[in-house]
Each structure stands twice: as structure tokens, then as C-alpha cells.
Symmetry: C2
Subunit: 208 residues, 2 copies
């Protein structure tokens, strides 16, 4: 692996484990057994590392947010969308844990993050509309828009909320599954009865 990629990979791991504010560029260089000078040859400072990690996150999330257009949507699309979105957030969870802090420091990143958030809301709207068209879901456009916003808020802040709520957060993977569940609970009242039951069964299998 190229040094540049190794720096990004090591940084991502350390940021996720320790929290981005507690990891310095020297710490990263130490962990990799390279000199700080070598690290600075590839990245000007820590914010630049954060920015390039964000670009990877953005690319991955944009792929998740592609709604299939060639066929009608089904429940599995919603499920898969949420699962992949939360998985992607989980991989780059350091961004979310100190979101205000990181976005406050970096204007370019803030603009990208905003665009991505709008994209998420739009994808949630598209999926809900698709499900409404085939009769799986029953909701009017106003409900769908409000629902899509709530989906985006829960998806964005669920890990932070769990972090504040529990003194000993336990396995964070559990929070992730619980996050998908919390979003599904948002959607479920708008589903057709049989789909709602299917959803409950799937949720419980998924959480156990």
C-alpha cells in the first residue's frame, strides 16, 4: 500500500477509536513508524487528512444513495438503503462524533456535508414516493417530506445521541443496528399492514 493510503487508513482507525480531537499528526506518524516530515510530505495538516477521508466517505455514501430507476421499488430497497447508509456512517463515525467541531473548522467540508445531507433527504423522499406508487406505503407528499427529514436527523445523530445517553456505551455495533431499527419505526406506521408485520419480524431478527 502507498504511504499516502496508509496514512489515511491509520488516521481513520485512530480517529474512530480515540476521537479526532485527541489524535495529532505526530500520533499518526508514531503509530505508522514514519517521521512527521514524511507525513507532512503527503498532507499539510490534520484538517487535510480529515478532508480527504471525508471525500472517501462522500464517494461511498453517494453510491449508497443511488436509487434504482429501472424498476419499481420494494421494501428491501428501503432496508438495504438504511443498512448500507448506517454501515457507511459507522466506518467514518469520527466525523459524526465531533460533527459541529469538524464542520466549524472547515468551510469546504461544511459545503460538501450540506450537499450530501440534502441528497440523503432527497433519496429518502424518492424511496418513499416509489413505495407509495406501488402501494406498499400510504402517505401524502407533505407526510413524505416531513418523514424524510426525520429519517435524515435520526440517521445523522443517532450515534451522538447514544453516546450522550449511555455512560458505558457498550458495543457500538449495537447502536448501529438500533439506528436502522429507529428509522424503520419512523416508516412503519405508513406501511401496508402486511408489510408492517414483515418489517417487525425483520427488525427483530436483525437486532437479535
Amino acid at each position: 500500500m502507498k504511504t499516502r493510503d496508509r496514512i489515511l487508513q491509520t488516521s481513520l482507525q485512530l480517529f474512530n477509536e480515540k476521537g479526532e480531537p485527541h489524535v495529532t499528526t505526530n500520533y499518526i506518524a508514531d503509530e505508522m513508524n514514519i517521521s512527521p516530515g514524511n507525513l507532512y510530505y503527503h498532507f499539510r495538516n490534520k484538517d487535510e487528512i480529515v478532508y480527504f477521508l471525508f471525500l472517501r466517505y462522500e464517494e461511498q455514501m453517494q453510491a449508497v444513495l443511488e436509487v434504482p430507476k429501472s424498476r419499481s421499488l420494494n421494501m428491501e430497497d428501503m432496508w438495504l438503503f438504511l443498512h448500507l447508509a448506517f454501515e457507511c456512517i459507522w466506518q467514518y463515525r469520527f466525523l459524526y462524533r465531533d460533527l459541529d467541531n469538524i464542520l466549524g473548522r472547515n468551510k469546504k467540508l461544511r459545503i460538501h456535508f450540506r450537499r450530501l445531507l440534502q441528497r440523503k433527504v432527497q433519496t429518502a423522499i424518492d424511496i418513499c414516493k416509489g413505495l407509495a406508487e406501488v402501494g406498499i406505503m400510504e402517505a401524502n407528499p407533505e407526510e413524505i417530506e416531513a418523514l424524510a427529514n426525520n429519517i435524515a436527523v435520526i440517521a445523522t445523530y443517532w450515534l451522538n445521541f447514544q453516546g450522550i445517553r449511555h455512560e458505558h456505551p457498550g458495543r457500538e455495533e449495537d447502536h448501529l443496528g438500533r439506528g436502522v431499527y429507529q428509522v424503520m419505526i419512523l416508516v412503519s406506521p405508513y406501511l401496508r399492514q402486511d408489510m408492517r408485520e414483515l418489517l417487525y419480524r425483520l427488525s427483530h431478527d436483525y437486532l437479535d
Copy 2:
């Protein structure tokens, strides 16, 4: 007004306007036309000011979270609860705008904030149970618990979400009303049909 109270009031105003990270104790003293020494006579540092402001917020929020026990609940209780809760968050909005940052710096505050968050979830559960008992709402205990958590997440992070989503946030008061609306939308699918219609009407009056 006593100097101590004036310091707290001025700090609250500046924190809300400029963001807590951008306001120093010197800035606060300047604004009040007192010497930094006078300020330090009352508070050791900025974190102590933040802490005492939080205690005021906590006291006010705890009063909001008192669910009436002597009579059965109705829709107006839910509405009033949300309206007062958001109003209280709005008054101390600086806490929420840099929540990770502020809680990360101050362990005592983190513990208090966690307790308050648990209290919020519990109050949401109590209100939903009360509404279910009198037949206004229809939801099983599992749905109520998941719903209460979603209510707490939306109430806690709505302002942050709006702040990230909009480049020019516009009047923040609008975000507040929109926050109440977003929570009501969470609750509405579980309401009896006539109550649901009442809710929609009230929401629109409230937002216009």
C-alpha cells in the same frame, strides 16, 4: 440586578448570538463594561459560566418535564410539552449548537445532561402511555419506547440539523416551530383519526 446575574445574562446572550467557542471572558467583561478581574471574582473561568447557565436551563426544563398526575392527559399536554421544551432549548440554544464540544470539556455537565435526556425520554413515554390509556393514541409499549427515543433525538438535534442544512439559516425562530412540527409528525400516525386531523390543523396554524 446583581453583577453575578448580569454576567450570566450577558454571557447567555453572547453565546447564543456568536456561538460559545467564539466568546471569551474578556469579550463578556467588555460588553458589560466591567473589568476582567471583576468577572473572575464571580466566576473562575468560562466553563464555570457555562455550567451555571446549564443549571438554569436544567431547572427550567425539569419544570417543563413535570407530567400532570392528578388528571388524565390530552392532546394539549403533548403540544404544550413540546412547545415549552423547544422554547427552553431555544433560550439556551448555544448549548445545543456546540453540544459535543461543550460536553466533551466538562464531565459534570455531561452527567447532568445525560440525566436530563433520560428524563426527556421518560416524560415522552409517560405522555404517550397517558394518551394511549384514554384512547387518543394507539401504540404498543415497544412502539412507544422507540417513538419516545425518536422524539428525544429530533428535539435534541433539530436545530443542529437545520444549521448544517441551510447555508443562510434565516430566522431561527422558524426552525423552532418547524421542530415542534417534526415531532408532531412522528406522533401523528399513532393518533386516532379525528385527533390526527386536529393535529394537522393546529400544526399549520402554528407554522404560518
